[in-house]
């Protein structure tokens, strides 16, 4: 074996490595996910909380996570936002991904003197136009000078939503956003959320128990019980045996009814559009 051959061989290997790197890079780019989790597992106090979770959120996705209490829904959100480091697996984010996070509630002390305006703008970089847009979108103009401690539940949720929207996020993460509201408050909030989703074209990842209310707006449903039970469009999910075994037949039937009425609405909607 002469030197020339040796060098050629070396170059060949080098070339192969580079090309495989390129392949890998292209693969990652081609998925164009905003954020994705691969083989995420979390074990806490010898209990498996998340088992090999695989999840991906693309542009303009609307994914709702459902599941019983203790299913690891909030933990999954925490892993995605890197509050919590999973025991294994990795999270891949688009570079400079802007995430807006809306918690279920905040435990602010009642004696804290703070107005709504002060709260939504603290430690945020924003311009005047996006501020005004957010205020009108979330309908908080009337309460902008009120103190946080006197807000009602529905007002507080809208203020939290406004804060999460202020830096024009590409991905909005919501953790049971309508948990503390009464039924009309929930409907109002989800309608508001959907109009923002349609208007802004952002991606939404939400944990919610009110599946019957978000049925119309959500694109995909992920059913989580420490592992991924099923994932798919809301219509498919309700027919999935794992979903039925988890929530019972009655729940699945209720969903089916809701879908039915939603589909009718959609048809009517389409008709009016074509009519115009």
């Amino acid at each position: 074996m002469n030197v020339k051959q040796f060098i050629n061989y070396d170059l060949l290997i080098l070339f192969k490595i580079q090309s495989s790197k390129k392949d890998c890079h292209q693969k990652m780019k081609s998925t164009n996910a905003l954020i994705s989790a691969h083989n995420i597992s979390v074990i806490k106090n010898e209990k498996v909380i998340l088992d090999n979770i695989e999840i991906e959120i693309k542009k303009n996705d609307f994914l709702t996570i459902i599941g019983p209490n203790g299913a690891g829904k909030t933990m999954l959100l925490k892993c995605l936002m890197e509050f919590y480091k999973p025991n294994s697996g990795q999270i891949i984010k688009k570079t400079n991904l802007k995430i807006g996070y809306m918690p279920q509630s905040i435990n602010i002390i009642n004696t804290m003197p703070m107005s709504v305006q002060n709260f939504i703008t603290v430690r945020k970089k924003f311009d005047d136009i996006s501020y005004r847009q957010v205020v009108s979108e979330t309908k908080i103009k009337k309460i902008i000078n009120k103190q946080l401690s006197v807000l009602s539940g529905g007002e507080m949720q809208r203020v939290l939503l406004a804060r999460s929207l202020l830096n024009n996020p590409e991905l909005l993460i919501l953790d049971e956003p309508a948990q503390n509201l009464d039924i009309s408050g929930q409907i109002y909030f989800y309608n508001l959320l959907q109009s923002i989703y349609l208007k802004r074209g952002l991606s939404i990842l939400m944990v919610s128990h009110d599946l019957h209310l978000v049925m119309a707006s959500t694109k995909k449903v992920l059913c989580l019980s420490n592992h991924i039970c099923c994932i798919g469009k809301p219509q498919q999910i309700t027919k999935d045996p794992e979903f039925i075994s988890m929530f019972g037949k009655d729940m699945a039937n209720i969903m089916a009814v809701y879908q039915h009425s939603n589909e009718i609405k959609k048809v009517q909607h389409n008709n009016t559009i074509t009519g115009e």
Partner: protein, 199 residues
């Protein structure tokens, strides 16, 4: 300082409420301190530590205070919005890339500096009063956290000046005199705060 960090560490575990922890740690610290003093053969004026004596402050102390207060103000000013957000809600702060533990550590350190500095002037027992009363007084009068800090500082300064003046005039101990003045302001603000809100 050690107790400050011990408090933080125990608070993180969240097994007890912070009020309970504060009660336990403050009294343990005080008891340990008195025991240590009793072992020392050098005579330390316990009365001065507990109640303070503004007349024993030397010009070196004053320079030390300038430096300490300077650092305290700088630290707070540069981290003001982060501190505020952590106070409002820790999860929200985490979502925006703040480490709440770091912020709490910072606040505890600043508090320790302030307590160590004012120990000599108003004494151990009255420091807590001076930390809380001006802020509580200001709370009645303001609607924003930033203004609250400014107003409570002004109230603090005002009560120190009036308190010392009264103590000189009537020959009563300076520390308690300062606290009583600030307490009077507190009740006044409470009364007038209600009065203002009615209107």
């Amino acid at each position: 300082m050690v107790f400050g960090f011990l408090f933080l560490w125990l608070q993180q575990s969240k097994a007890l409420s912070s009020d309970t922890l504060l009660g336990v740690l403050a009294h343990v610290a005080l008891a340990l301190g008195i025991i240590v003093i009793s072992f020392n053969k050098i005579k330390i004026d316990l009365h001065a530590i507990l109640f303070g004596d503004i007349l024993t402050v030397s010009s070196n102390d004053i320079w030390g205070m300038y430096i300490g207060v300077f650092f305290a103000i700088i630290l707070i000013l540069f981290n003001w919005s982060s501190l505020l957000l952590v106070t409002v809600d820790e999860d929200l702060a985490k979502a925006e890339g703040i480490n709440p533990l770091y912020m709490n550590l910072l606040l505890t350190s600043v508090l320790t500096i302030v307590v160590a500095l004012s120990l000599q002037i108003i004494g151990l027992l009255l420091i807590t009063a001076m930390l809380i009363i001006p802020a509580a007084t200001a709370r009645r009068l303001v609607n924003s956290p930033g203004i609250m800090v400014v107003i409570s500082t002004l109230i603090g300064i005002f009560s120190v000046i009036i308190g010392i003046y009264i103590s000189v005039e009537t020959d009563i101990p300076s520390g308690p005199s300062i606290v009583v003045v600030s307490a009077v302001l507190f009740f006044l603000s409470h009364f007038f705060g209600k009065f203002l809100k009615k209107e």
